[in-house]
Amino acid sequence: MAETQNVYEIPIGPIHPALKEPIRFTFQVEGERIRGVDIRAGFAHRGIEFMAMKRNLIQTLYLSERICGICSISHPITITLAVERAAGIEVPPRAQYLRVIYSELERIHSHLLWAGVAAHELGFDTLLHLTWKVREQVLDLLEELSGNRIDYALPIYGGVRRDVSPEQTPKVEAMVRYYRGLLDELLDAFLRDPSVEARTRDVGILTSEEADSLCAVGPTARASGLSKDVRQDRPYLVYGELGVKAITPRDYGLEPRGDVYDKAVVRLLEVAQSLDLIETCLYEMPEGEITSFPKVPALLAYLKKVEGEGLGWHEAPRGEVIHYIRLEAGVEEPIVWKVKAPTYSNLMSWVPMFRDQEVADIPIIAASIDPCMCCMDRVHVVRDGSPATVLKEDLLRLSRAKTERMVGGSRLSASGPRSTAHGRRTTDNGQRTPDHGGGL
């Protein structure tokens, strides 16, 4: 890329103190300004989808939890939704409410975690320690409800494994009260602090057009002003009844600019939204069973007979996560399991965000999409000794052919695609190109 002598390259990663997970950036830099970036991912690839093909569905559930330790409710919920759709399993209403409670608790812990990491990247360690101190409250509650601080093993096909008992309800209420009381302080510390504002305002901008065309998801897209939230757009569980609305900086009275500041606004307001959802669920939750299969052997025996495919989607703290699963009768293992994690969709947003920014802003811009490499890392396909480079046009063609095929077979209609589904899918796949070693 070094056309002129003034442009030189800075490699960062895969092991670097500013990165919590292995990934490599190669920045083309002119003086202090970033002119381009190349991203090399794949260091955390563990071949989870492949391993699942040798394990039964219960083992796969545990494996899905270990895709990412931060999203260890989102991934199991999504795979259970996919399997339940494939197998036609009904989830009892109480279990649906419980799943919402658990995933909103996870959102609170994940967003607070992000806020702390972002403060750390800005060099504001006091704020890191403050946010991580208050984050321990939600971890305490998750430990109370699940028995573990991380990796909760709560969802199971057909329901959840643990109930919120009457004795635990006051603890949930206490947590909601605790964070409600703190929220203003947190907003003060992040959004009304002049030094945070100076470092994050107009830094790492992703315009709404770019966010739309790059198919950004989650808070990354919402900070750019897109009203995009799976809980609102394709409601699942009881989110439809709860009436979730996508949060954009407009809810804070700001016109969205898509910079790092806006991303902080969205995440902090979502903490408040999650608190409201948890409270509503707690009071509206009906009594009843928490799973339709109380005995695991019966569940496994039932799943072994299932033939079909299913799609599950969920709004994880980082954005839309999708699991696709195909099951065959007489086989315990899933035939195909495909995971699309939110960072996978958000990765390309880095390219416009880094453009013309300063080198010193690299850590905060990298952190601003809340990247999760372990969710995202993919394998590079090499066929007949040569790496396959798939262009977006090819993928578009393939995708359209697939839609036609599926409309013919009317398989996809069961999972209810939106009118834009195939367009979105194409670009999701189009983002694969960097993984195939292509330059950006």
Binding site: P14, I15, P17, K20, E21, P22, G42, F43, A44, H45, R46, G47, I48, F50, M51, K54, Y62, L63, R66, I67, C68, G69, I70, S72, L113, G116, L128, H129, W132, K133, E136, L139, R149, I150, D151, C372, C374, V379
Partner: protein, 143 residues
Amino acid sequence: MGLSSFKRALWVFHIATGSCNGCDIEIVAALTPRYDVERFGIKLVGTPRHADVLLVTGPVTRPMAERLKRVYDQTPEPKAVVVVGGCGSTSGVFYDSYNVVGPVDKIVPVAAYVPGCPPRPEAIIHGVVTAVAKLEQLAGEKR
């Protein structure tokens, strides 16, 4: 073991070799106010060249194995490697992956294992202390 292990400040370098983030966030949790290891002088540093202890998380994926070895070589003696998490200790749930070449003790010598998926911050602190006590014991035998 006792307090003699805390005679000098321990500087720790964290390397993720394909972990799921679970152990990584628990390491950060150990550094923040609830557990606050900095009061013992245990501190996360930005380079292995400053570190006494390497905290290794993750099952060691193929591309990270060579880099883990390099980081180990860059760490000055005396050093101790602490494996945090079940997948680094035994490969755990990732035992039959094509892209996992671990566990960590296949790549670099390990002083202490902290099992758990993920281990609690208390366990991580205990692991670091155990590794250092072991180092001191070894140093005593050599003398």
